[in-house]
Amino acid sequence: MPVKVSMTVNGKPVAAEVEERTLLVSFIREHLRLTGTHVGCDTAQCGACTIHMNGNAVKACNMLAMQAEGADILTIEGVAAADGTLHPMQEAFREHHALQCGFCTPGMVMSAIDLVKRHPKPTEAVVRAELDGNFCRCTGYHNIVKAILDAAPKVAAMR
C-alpha cells in the first residue's frame, strides 16, 4: 500500500507517495535525490546516514519515511549557507583534512553539529565519546576530533 508522506526538508516542503516500507534515508536519497546522505551499514551502526530531525541528529537508515511525517528535516545539503558559504563545521573539516574518502563525512558533520550544540565547549574526551555512533575507516578520527574542537566556538558564535 503506498502512503502519502509530507515533511520539510532543508526548509522546503516536500510530499510524495511511497511504499510503506520506504526508509527515511531511501526517501531522501531516491525520491528527493539528495544523495549527500549515505548508507554505510543499514543497521544504525556507522552513522553515514545521520541527518537532523526536528533539530536532533538521527540515523535515517533506521526509521521509516512515514515516521518523519510532518517533521523538519535537515540534510547535509542544507547545512551550508544559501550562497554556498560552508558551515563552520564543514569549513573546519576542510581546513583540518578531516576527511579522506569522504563517505562518512556527511554523517560526521551532521553528528558534529549536533554534538557542539549539546556541548558548546567540548573536551577531546567528550568529542571522542560523542562520536560513538559514527565510523570513519580512513582518518583514524585524529583530524575529525581536531576539526570539531576547532569549530565548536565558531558554531557557538553563530547563535
Binding site: E19, G40, Q45, A48, H142
Partner: protein, 748 residues
Amino acid sequence: MFVRSPHAHARIRKVDLAKAAKAPGVLAVYTGEDIAKAGINGLPCGWLITDVNGQPMKEPPYPVLAQGKARYVGDRVAVVIAETYNQAKDAAERVEVDYEVLPAVVDAAAARKQGAPAIHDIAPDNTCYVWALGDKAKVDDAFKAAAHVTKLEFVNNRLIPNAIEPRSAIGAYSRADDNYTLYVTSQNPHVERLLMTAFVLGLPEHKVRVVAPDVGGGFGSKIYLYGEDVVVTWASRQVNRPIKWTAERVESFMSDAHGRDHVTTAELALDKDGKFLAMRVHTAANLGAYLSTFASCIPTILYATLLAGQYTTPQIYCEVTAVFTNTAPVDAYRGAGRPEATYVVERLVETAAREMKIDPAEIRRRNFIKSFPYQTPVALMYDTGDYQATLDAALKLGDVAGFAKRKEEAAKRGRLRGLGYSCYIEACGIAPSNVAGALGARAGLFEAGEVRVHPTGKVTVFTGSHSHGQGHETTFAQVVASRLGIPVEDVDIVHGDTSKILFGMGTYGSRSLAVGGTAIVKAVDKVIAKGRKIAAHLMEAAEADVEFAEGVFKVSGTDKQVPFAQVALTAYVPHNYPLDKLEPGLNENAFYDPTNFTFPAGSYVCEVEVDPETGRTTIESFVAVDDFGKVINPMIVAGQVHGGLTQGIGQALLEGCRYDPETGQLVTGTMSDYCLPRAGDVPSFRLDTRETPCTHNPLGVKGCGEAGAIGAPAALINAITDAIGVREVPMPATAETVWRALASQKAA
C-alpha cells in the same frame, strides 16, 4: 539482488526459479548454470606461485555464480534482476535452492587434517601450495650454534576490511554502439577491465568502459574483480537496460575479500650478545574458498621477503602452506603480507630482548642495517634508510626516558603500564615488472600518466593511479604545478575512467606517488623538453641555451624569456613555429616501470595501561616516526598514518573475524558483532618523520599508505605483554582476552 549460500559448504542439487521469475517487477533470474551456458569463465588469479615440488599452485575454478557447490557462507548462487531493489529483494526470497549440506572447515590447520572435507576436487588435501624461501640447511645450522632461541606461536587474525562505502556496480549496455559501461567501486579500473574482458567475458576490451570515479575507501578490498561486477555487466545486455547492485553491509562482511589469517610458528636464533643469527618461520595461510585476484602472492612474495625487517639477520627460512577453507576469499588488505611479517619480526625481537634481559631498543640498535644498499637474505635489496634515526626520534618524542616514572605512578592507581616498540619496514611500489613476472606475476607493475597542456597553459593530468581517499588530486597537482612553475589551481587530476586514461595499474601497495607520480613527472619532463624547443624558436636561441625554471623559459645569460603559457599557446596556434621540425600541440604521456621497490620504514612506540580488574587496555600514547623519503604534502601523509595506525590498532585490540568452526557460519557478520575502532578507542597520535630519499625515483618518495597498519599491531601487543608480564597475548587483545591472560598467569 544476489541470492547467497546460507551454508558454508553445500552441494546445489536444484535451483527453482519459477516463483521468483513470476514475482512483480522481475526482469531476469540467473544461476551458475546460465553463466556456464553463456560461456562465461571463472575469475582469474593474477599471480602464479610455484609449489616446493615444482608444480604450479592449485587453481580451482572461481565461478561468478556458484556451479555445483557453494563453498562459503555468502557464495553467490543466483541473481535476481528487477525493476526496483525491493522487488528484487522480495523475489530473491522466492528462489528455492535445494542444498545438500556438506561438512565445512574454516581454519587452515583443520583443513589440512586427514579426513577434512575437500573443498575443490583438484585439491583433495585443501592445499593450494607449499612455498619456501631461504636456505633451510644454513638456517638449521645457525640455530644449532645459537646461544639463545626465542620461539613464538601465534595467529595473525583475520580481518574484514569494511570500507565505509559498500561495494557497488552498475552495468550498462548500449545497443547503439555495442558498448558496455561498468561503474564500479574499484581501485584499479583498467585491471578490472582487462581481467573481465580478456579472461572472463571474452568481450573486446575496447568495447568496455570501466569508470570508478569517487570511491569511498578501499584498503585493498576494491582491488579485485568480483563476480557481481561481471554479472551486472553481462546481464545489462541480456535485459537491455542498466543494472545496479549495491552491497548491503552484511554482504560486505560475507563477500568482500578478507585479510590476514595466518597461523605461524616463528623462531629467532641469537648469539650471547643479542645479535640475530637466523630466523625460521612456518606459516599456514588461509586463502578462503577461492583464489581471489592477488591472493596467492600476499602470504609469499609480500610476506616472506619482509622477514629481514630492519635487521642484519644473515639467514632466514620461511615456509608457507596456503590452504583452502569454507570462508570468504582472503586477499590484500592494507599492508598485505607486510603487517604479518612485521608482527613476526617485532614480536620475536621484543620477546628475545626481554628473555635475554637486553633493553628492547638496544637489541634493535645492535642489529640494525647501517649501510646501504643492503641485500637481505630474502631477495630484497634495500636502497636507503636510517633506522637508528627514526628509533632515536621515537624514543625522544615518546619520552621513553620518563616511562619508569609513569609506570610507577600508574601502579599507584592500580593500573599496569607497558611500553612496546615496533620497527617496521615495508616494500612498496612492487616492481620491476620483469622481476615480478619471473616471480609469477601475471600483470605488469608499471604506471601510466599523461599531461595535457591546454592552449591557455592550464593542465589536465591523467593518471592510472586511483584515488579513493588518498588525495592524489592534491598531491599530484602539487607535483605538476611545482615542476611546471604554474599555480596549483591550474592543474586538474583525472583518474578512474578507462575511456579517458590511456592505461593504469591502479592504487594499492602504497605505490601511487612513487610509481604513478613518477610516470607523471616523466610526462611533465617531456612537456618541458618540447616546450624548450618551442621557446628556443620563439626567442631565436639555440635549444641548449634555453633553461626552464619557475614557469619561465629563459635564454641563459640574457633577459630574453617566454612564460610557459605563451609556449603552450604557440603549440596550439603554431603561426610562428618550427613546423618542419616539430609537431604542434603540447600533450605527452609516459609509462614508468620502477627499477626496485621503495622501502619506507619507521619506529613506533606505544604506551598502554591495562586495568587488571577488567583487562581493558587504554592507549596512553602512540608515537610514530616514519621515513617515507621526501614528503610532498605533510598533511595528507599524516592523515594516511593516522588512518593506518587506527586500522593497526583495530587489528591488535578490537577486530577479529570469526567463523563458527562447526557450521562455518560467519559469526562476526555485522558492525555490532565485528568491532571496528571508534573515536573513543584511539588516542590523538604524535607523529614525526625522518627523510632518506628513495634513490631510484626522481621524487625521492617511498609511499605512506600502509605503514600505520603494518607497524601498529606489534607495538600494541608488545606494550600489553610488557604491561601484564605475560609472554603472549593473542590478537585482538580484547578486555576479555587480556583479563584471561592475567587470570591464567595468576593461576600459574
